[in-house]
């Protein structure tokens, strides 16, 4: 159905379930109007039996009915005009549309005030419209009328209601001064969005590069078996299904903010490791341990080859730390030079494999 509110204007096509939520939040008031295909005119939410049953009257006291109610909104006995100009004291209640179909009937003729209504349970039998169906809840489809909506569609026109209000026209500048101010604001917004995009690029480029490394390594015939991040470093492990060799990558973005990256470009520290399951692992493991205990093995030095082992899988690894310019692989249009990256990664793993086989093969 379509709903038009005094406070927010038109809500467009809306499902019953969505409308329930808006009634509950107070966005839709009892005297707001609704329409669905088949209705000859807009009707007030107040007069929709199913919807009215959902209204929390205590939390949403009615605003004065359009053109019908005078007096302060918190008055216990609002003055209601009937079809004539003669006011009488009354409070609104819900009528069964099947039995109160006269367009001249103001449908506000109960002895209950709103406060009385609020103090009573909404399940109070006399106040419940008889037309509420006992069927399951209506469909979510906003365009399919419920039984009650269908009943309403058969009612004659409710000419006594205020005509549905059209949403106000969209904003349009009225003068050159307006247009000038709008242009200034638009330029400020444009600059803001450009800065936002540049900052996002600076923050994201290491993850762009990480995805590119994954793609290039998979293109070389490996599969990704591990991916982790500790907030500073990204860790990847790849395995070759054919020979069980493994490639490890630790990627650290060194220029993660916009200012630094504009001065230095985007740099990354990348540790690349290559490992194979080696025969005589126990001897190799022992040698690695002895070398590390001497303190003479370079630790985490860029360009140095480090040998390590994985006791669980019995792989022996050779690793090297490199500094790479991410800008060489990812440009500012988010385009990635996969051919160059694949070649560089292949060169790294080849060098590490040669070293591994040269020492332990």
């Amino acid at each position: 159905m379509h709903v038009h509110t005094r406070k927010h204007g038109g809500l467009g096509a809306i499902s019953r379930r969505a409308l329930d939520g808006r009634i509950d939040s107070g966005e839709v008031a009892p005297d707001d109007v609704f329409w669905f295909p088949g209705m000859s005119d807009w009707g007030q939410v107040l007069h929709h039996p199913e919807l009215f049953a959902d209204l929390d009257v205590a939390r949403h006291p009615p605003s004065p009915l359009h053109g019908l109610v005078e007096g302060p909104p918190d008055s216990e006995t609002p003055v209601v005009h009937t079809g004539s100009d003669t006011p009488r004291t009354a409070a609104p209640t819900v009528l069964d549309p099947a039995t109160h179909s006269s367009p001249d009937d103001p449908v506000l003729a109960s002895s209950h005030t709103w406060d009385e209504l609020a103090s009573e349970s909404l399940s109070h039998a006399p106040l419940l419209p008889r037309a509420v169906p006992s069927d399951p809840p209506p469909t979510d489809d906003a365009l399919v009328p419920t039984d009650t909506e269908q009943a309403f569609s058969e009612l004659p026109s409710r000419d006594h209601l205020e005509p549905a209000r059209e949403p106000p026209p969209p904003y349009a500048p009225q003068s050159d001064a307006d247009r000038n101010m709008d242009a200034i604001f638009s330029a400020l917004m444009q600059d803001t969005l450009q800065y936002r995009d540049a900052s996002e690029f600076a923050r994201s480029i290491d993850e762009v590069f990480l995805g590119a490394v994954i793609t290039a390594t998979l293109d070389a015939g490996r599969v990704l078996t591990d991916i982790m991040s500790d907030g500073t470093h990204h860790f990847l492990r790849f395995v070759s299904p054919t020979d069980d060799s493994r490639v490890l990558v630790r990627l650290t973005h060194l220029t993660g903010n916009l200012t630094t990256s504009r001065v230095q470009g985007h740099m990354a520290s990348v540790v690349v490791g290559y490992g194979e399951r080696m025969s005589g692992f126990a001897d190799i493991w022992s040698t690695i341990g002895q070398q590390q205990s001497t303190g003479m093995v370079p630790r985490d030095a860029p360009g140095a080859f480090i040998v390590d082992g994985d006791l669980a899988s019995q792989h022996v690894y050779v690793q090297v730390r490199l500094y790479l310019r991410i800008d060489d692989y990812v440009d500012h249009e988010w385009s990635i030079n996969y051919a160059q990256l694949s070649e560089h990664l292949a060169a790294c793993t080849r060098a590490l494999r040669i070293h591994l086989h040269g020492r332990f093969g």
Partner: protein, 171 residues
Amino acid sequence: MQDLVRQFEPRTKIQESRTEIVVGEVIRAMARLGFPTIRFHIHDTRQEVRFRTVGHTHISTVAVTVERPTRSEAPSTTLFDEQVRLHVVAELRQAMRTPSELLAAARFPVEGRTTSDGVHVEQDRSSMVASIVRDIDIGGWMDVPHAESPPLVELMDEVIAILSGAIAAHQ
């Protein structure tokens, strides 16, 4: 650097890394389609990768979450071992620069709806989001190298076309 090897859980079989393998193939498929990665959210049970679009009319970003379906959701134990679920969410961010654009965005209804092909579309201010779920069977290609032919390109291409169409239809 010497701790790099020990950063990873000891795994002796590729099959222990089903989810990660799919994540890798999703990334490669999206790269083929022109979507670079911009964000990784790695959890024990599910992994989300966000991609940026370049020059796409109806999509700004795509987020793909890879997770294993629960046992109760899988048709059988065998299929459970071979199934991975993809949640794919496409978002269109509409940049607003003028007062009239800002006003129009503020009037957008905030409502979700699901189309007949299972795409859920939501609209919120300057953003429209379409999402879909796909279960994929990885049993057939788990152990086979796919250096030349990324196995998920066709699927991701189809899914993105569906989501893009859904967003375009609701714009």
